[in-house]
């Protein structure tokens, strides 16, 4: 029976492989080291080593930056700064006066600094102590002529009480199957690097880590935190199915991400991602998103003490726009109301926040809020393709007011000498019945429609989706909703603008099929939903989808629509 050691799973996934103990023992090398009899010569060796190691780190940083490993590069940058730190250099010098041995002095100085950090009794500084020891070891290794660990053909599972971040960062991703840490810190740089590379990781194993020996075969479950040491065939079989499924799904999604979203008979639909922060675009790209169909700009506003400045917003939007690599990035303007109050907005509580002072209604009243946002989006447009999307619109007047402010924002930017784009599309969310019914008119004033189904369903059916007593009524296949959606898409088509959808309905593969048949151009959803929707659309012809659409538009009840779709698709 294999032994199971438990820790805390921090990065999900199953890894299977041989243990490589990280954190090398330098004692043997230190004993063999011959210091220079002349103290000044030994001091010069130490100084030269600091310069050389800083140089090596700098070249690693540049490599990482070129490979898109920005997070790892930032960690290496912190290390480089520690290597060049005047305080560390002084400490090494003092230690040398006593020890007359460069590598020993470096290790002692780093240890001394690390201890000071640990004494601060704070998880963050305890983690930095690991960085410092890592830096000390790296310099000592250079002085001792020790090579960094090299990995053979197979992938290994790195295991250590603490693992120097540079060990993980320095190895190619495909050579590390998993990571096990005895220490409990989830803020350790080693964990951050593992997360960026999606390497299954278990931390907080504690002293039980001593049961794991170099070269042991183990199975690591990064979700549950289990480590099966020297697993039996039975143990392996138990995990084999999960590993197989995990690998198959990953490979399938990776393949699918590269393929276009096009039906059997050549109708294209653009699948985009809903995001909350610029970082989400990286993940979206992995799932094959062709741009961002909804950037919820609320995140820029939430958790703040004060209204975010134009520059703060510009930075966030620019980053998202750039990461879209030439695809469109649709930024929704502030969609805040009495249901998610922000202290600095000072909006009094309302009896009926969903029918109250919210979204564009606030934006149009509070120019000190809206103008910086419009200006930030216009400026971000210089770095790719940006679009402004206005939520909660119910009439033409609101669109005209927004467009007027956009023009004013451009004038202000021109006066301030700031670069902005003149090609930023302006569209609206169609999420009120009023807007949907009026789309034949509204289409003359905007560049696109994006249907927000969460609110459209709620307002059309007068159903609060959060109310358990009536949640059975909430259904995006309700014929009233479907007719409004069909009208919206038709209005867009007839006026030569594009129509998309960014509500939850867009991530329903069955809905995607009929929306495509209605003529939708774009569907935006949370990135992990993209493969399933794409799979469904690639499997059908638009002709078949149109037949199905005709059948379901003839139905009188939303639940029947659901049942029919399950049968027909």
């Amino acid at each position: 029976m294999a032994e199971i050691v438990k820790g805390k799973g921090v990065i999900a996934g199953i890894a299977i492989g041989k243990i490589m103990l990280a954190g090398q023992n330098l004692d043997g090398y230190l004993m063999a080291y011959q210091p220079d009899g002349d103290l000044d010569a030994e001091k010069k060796k130490a100084t030269d080593a600091l310069d050389k190691v800083a140089e090596i780190l700098q070249s690693n940083i540049e490599k990482l930056q070129a490979d898109g490993g920005a997070e790892q590069a930032a960690i290496m940058e912190a290390h480089r700064m520690m290597v060049q730190d005047p305080m560390l250099a002084e400490n090494i010098n003092t230690q040398l006066d006593e020890l007359h041995n460069a590598p020993k002095a470096v290790l002692a100085a780093a240890e001394d600094q690390a201890k000071q950090f640990e004494a601060m009794d704070n998880e963050y500084f305890a983690a930095r102590a690991v960085d410092l020891r890592d830096v000390g070891k790296r310099i000592a290794k250079y002085l001792l002529g020790v090579k960094e660990p090299e990995i053979g053909d197979g992938a290994v599972i790195l295991c250590g009480q603490e693992i120097e971040p540079s060990v993980i960062a320095g190895l190619p991703s495909d050579k590390i199957a998993g990571v096990i840490l005895g220490a409990g810190s989830t803020t350790a740089h080693a964990v951050i690097i593992a997360k960026a590379r999606a390497i299954p990781t278990v931390v907080g194993v504690g002293s039980a880590i001593e049961k794991i020996a170099d070269g042991d075969a183990v199975i690591l479950d990064g979700e549950k935190g289990d480590i099966v040491i020297r697993p039996s065939d039975e143990d392996r079989a138990g995990y084999a199915e999960r590993i197989k499924k995990q690998a198959e799904l990953k490979a399938y999604y990776e393949e699918l991400a590269k393929l276009p979203t096009v039906t059997q008979d050549g109708v294209k639909v653009q699948l985009m991602a809903n995001i909350g922060s610029p970082d989400d675009v990286d993940n979206a790209n992995k799932y094959g998103a062709e741009g961002v169909g909804l950037f919820r700009s609320e995140f820029v506003f939430m958790g703040k003490q004060d209204i975010p400045t134009e520059d703060e917003q510009f930075k966030a939007y620019k980053e998202a726009v750039e990461k879209c690599n030439g695809n469109l990035c649709v930024i929704r303007t502030m969609d805040i109301g009495g249901d998610k109050p922000l202290p600095y907005l000072q909006i009094p509580p309302e009896e009926n926040p969903f029918l109250g002072f919210r979204a564009v209604r606030i934006s149009l009243k509070r120019h000190e809020l809206f103008m910086p946002q419009l200006k930030a989006i216009l400026r971000a447009g210089v770095f790719g393709k940006a679009a402004i999307m206005v939520p909660m619109v119910i009439n033409v007047a609101e669109i005209l007011a927004v467009k007027k402010l956009v023009e004013e924002a451009k004038v202000e930017l021109a006066h301030e000498g700031k670069a902005y784009s003149d090609n930023v599309q302006i569209g609206i969310m169609v999420e009120t019945p009023a807007a949907a019914v009026m789309t034949p008119v509204l289409a003359k004033y905007v560049d696109f429609f994006s249907i927000g189904t969460n609110d459209l369903v709620q307002y059309t059916l007068a159903v609060d989706r959060g109310n358990a007593n009536i949640s059975y009524l909430y259904n995006h296949f309700n014929p009233a909703v479907l007719r409004l959606i069909q009208l919206t898409i038709k209005s867009a088509r007839e006026n030569g603008i594009w129509a998309g959808m960014c509500g939850e309905m867009a991530s329903d593969p069955y809905a995607a099929v009929i929306l495509m048949a209605m003529g939708i151009n774009e569907l935006s959803m949370s990135a992990p939903s993209i493969p399933r929707v794409k799979e469904k659309l690639r499997a059908i012809t638009s002709k078949r989808a149109e037949e199905i659409l005709e059948v379901i538009m003839g139905l009188e009840d939303g639940d029947d629509v659901k049942a029919q779709l399950n049968k027909l698709i």
Partner: protein, 88 residues
């Protein structure tokens, strides 16, 4: 000698990335640059010293520069702190 006093407003304080940026900025200047807080004064070009100060949000700090470009140094660092290191 030029100096300026301010309060740290960004969420993480001067740790991690903000500390790196702070030191990189200070290192661009020829002047001797120091940071004074909690009754201690340390070299603003040393990431270890700055990190060991535990400069969390709400800490009042004084930036002191002495040298040929002292005015620019203090201004650049003050801007950085007041812009919350662009983090929020």
């Amino acid at each position: 000698m030029t100096e300026a006093t301010m309060t740290i407003e960004n969420k993480t304080g001067i740790h991690a990335r903000p500390a790196s940026i702070f030191v990189q900025t200070a290192s661009k200047f020829k002047s001797k640059v120091q940071i004074k807080a909690k009754g201690k004064t340390v070299d603003a070009k040393s990431i270890l010293m700055i990190m060991s100060m535990g400069l969390v949000k709400g800490t009042e700090i004084t930036i002191i520069a002495d040298g040929p470009d002292e005015g620019d140094a203090v201004k650049a660092l003050q801007d950085l702190v007041e812009s919350k290191f662009g983090e929020e």
